[in-house]
Symmetry: C2
Subunit: 356 residues, 2 copies
């Protein structure tokens, strides 16, 4: 039995229509290598890497696999610091500081989430990954043209039909239809009303009908049934994130791992408290007490700065009360397997279900 739709397979040069979601801070080069070696598309998340780290990771991956690789970048519009909002945010968090015995004027780290820039583009040109994916839209036209000139296939996430059309118009080779079930940051860049975000089941076929390029379904897919269902909805491939968070290759804190192993279907919510942008995570104390959505946090990615001391101290006590516990709504379906085994199993089981 073969995959019924070869468009994404041929586009990227992979064997199974399974893309490992980039997952900045949680995925690793080892994960990307494992997925690539299993025939899927491994991804390196660069959003929180310096150019040097990115280069080193890419070279390390290249040393281990010759398979196609996806390199992922955020491309948000950076906003200047807003002293007033930052101060208001710190004031709002002050009771927690007090309770932990942390001085209110503690120096907090500035959170860096560098959008894709010339330096990153230099490395793409140098190391030439097969696929470059973006989150939060696309970079500026000149940067995008440079990426395209490398021959890399370009993809990005859409959370609405309008975003999918926007991406296709700007030359994306495929579009990720990211349903509301997905863990981590929403890819939204035109849509602003998080109460109107669309579930995978409704989003995928509407995106398929709206664009000509192949569609990659994301959100709520963690087992073979999900892969087969996504293909039935018209997707050509799937992107899977949360299921890989259970693999030994994932870089997951102890409290996050504990939360992932106890999560229920309705245990997550979309929140902007941790970074200033909406993302789906397992509901914890901060989300319950201040959100999950709020007008209080400063713009992405600065919200995390003032939370850092709280997170550090809570995690030292084994608590994820102030941590980003990113997870999608299908987390519970995940099997804790090494990334290579998981990829092979998902592909095998999906093919068996299709043949049935």
């Amino acid at each position: 039995m073969n995959w019924p739709d070869r468009r994404v397979l041929d586009l990227f040069g992979i064997e199974a229509p399974i893309i490992q979601a980039p997952m900045a801070n949680f995925s690793t080069p080892a994960m990307a290598i494992a997925v690539a070696e299993a025939g899927g598309l491994g991804s390196l998340a660069c959003a929180s890497l310096t150019a040097e780290q990115m280069r080193a990771d890419l070279i390390a991956i290249r040393a281990q696999t010759a398979r196609p690789l996806n390199v992922n970048f955020f491309c948000h519009q950076p906003t200047p610091p807003d002293e007033i909002r930052e101060a208001a945010w710190r004031k709002k968090l002050a009771p927690y500081y007090d309770a932990f015995g942390i001085a209110r004027d503690t120096q907090v780290p500035s959170v860096a989430r560098q959008p894709f820039d010339g330096a990153a583009c230099d490395i793409v040109e140098e190391l030439n990954p097969a696929v470059v994916s973006f989150h939060f839209g696309l970079p500026s036209a000149p940067l995008l043209a440079r990426v395209r000139a490398t021959g890399a296939k370009i993809i990005s996430s859409a959370t609405t039909v309008a975003e999918a059309r926007w991406l296709e118009e700007r030359g994306c080779d495929a579009v990720i239809a990211m349903g509301a079930e997905a863990g981590g940051h929403r890819g939204s860049f035109l849509a602003t009303e998080m109460t109107q975000q669309v579930g995978t089941f409704a989003l995928v076929p509407q995106v398929v009908d709206a664009v000509h390029v192949p569609v990659i379904a994301a959100g709520g897919i963690a087992d073979a049934r999900g892969i087969v269902a996504a293909l039935a909805l018209g997707a050509s491939a799937v992107q899977i994130g949360t299921a890989y968070m259970y693999s030994p290759e994932a870089k997951v804190s102890a409290p996050h791992r504990a939360a992932l192993s106890a999560v229920t279907d309705d245990g997550t919510a979309m929140t902007n408290l941790f970074t200033g942008r909406p993302a789906r995570g397992i509901v914890n104390r901060l989300m319950r007490e201040m959100g999950p959505m709020s007008d209080a946090p400063p713009a992405f990615p600065r919200a995390g700065g003032a939370l850092a001391p709280l997170k550090l101290q809570a995690e030292a006590n084994g608590s994820g009360d102030f941590s980003t516990l990113w997870a999608g709504q299908a987390a519970r379906l995940s099997k804790a397997l090494p990334a290579r085994k998981l990829t092979l199993l998902l592909a095998k089981e999906a093919l068996a279900q299709i043949a049935h």
Copy 2:
């Protein structure tokens, strides 16, 4: 080609695994007859019918079809009127009253949504429908025992795994897994956090894994792709609502029909403004200006009372600004066909896709 899973077909004695969602106020006996004659399960929504209307409708349906029928009831816990909350709600709406030139002390109708009771149960016993479905949980044990004694199959909606388990434990013959994409009132009865409601794609397989009875997928299903995908996720049948709102058999106001024909994938939101319980509808002025979710409206179903004069006047001007414009997130996928044709087409296309 036959349907791969016969459990719901055999349980209800139907030919196609398609259940027309009840949709109180919008569905009609003609719709139920048309779906039943096409081999699906037609449903009569009784939540806003008097016992006499219900009896007359059931007898009228019986005169036209001998096929199995589903009779649907709400089973919320009625709450006593709360004068203070009602007054606060009217005060909040007063600026709209003023703008429309409606006197603030205008007598408003009391909204009746009778939960399933002894009188309704008498009619079930008398007319003996093949299936009785409930929304918002289940009625009291004695009433449920009376329904069971008629031989009717009993089903209800779950919006979480916990709700599905609760329904199975109380003897439901099948469980509707109602994803967050679904239009109209959420069936939730244990879950209270609407920010944590689960999308169809993630909910269905988790419910399938959690219960032994067959699962009926609902939410975001409006075409054959959705039926095939739901079956791939492990569902034995689907419940389709919004797609039938486009049929000539639906009782839809002109503004609602206009909104349905213009709706986009991300044009709906969950709101409790219209009835006091969360329901998904097309975003309109009231939802934009006061919600979509709010602490202001009185308990279900009373919120609608004070809105009635606004709705009446707006609709007279062709506007749906204050109307319930219920719709699910896959509305756009609907084909405006008579209910019989739609049911036959959905079944035929789904079977063709499965055989492919």
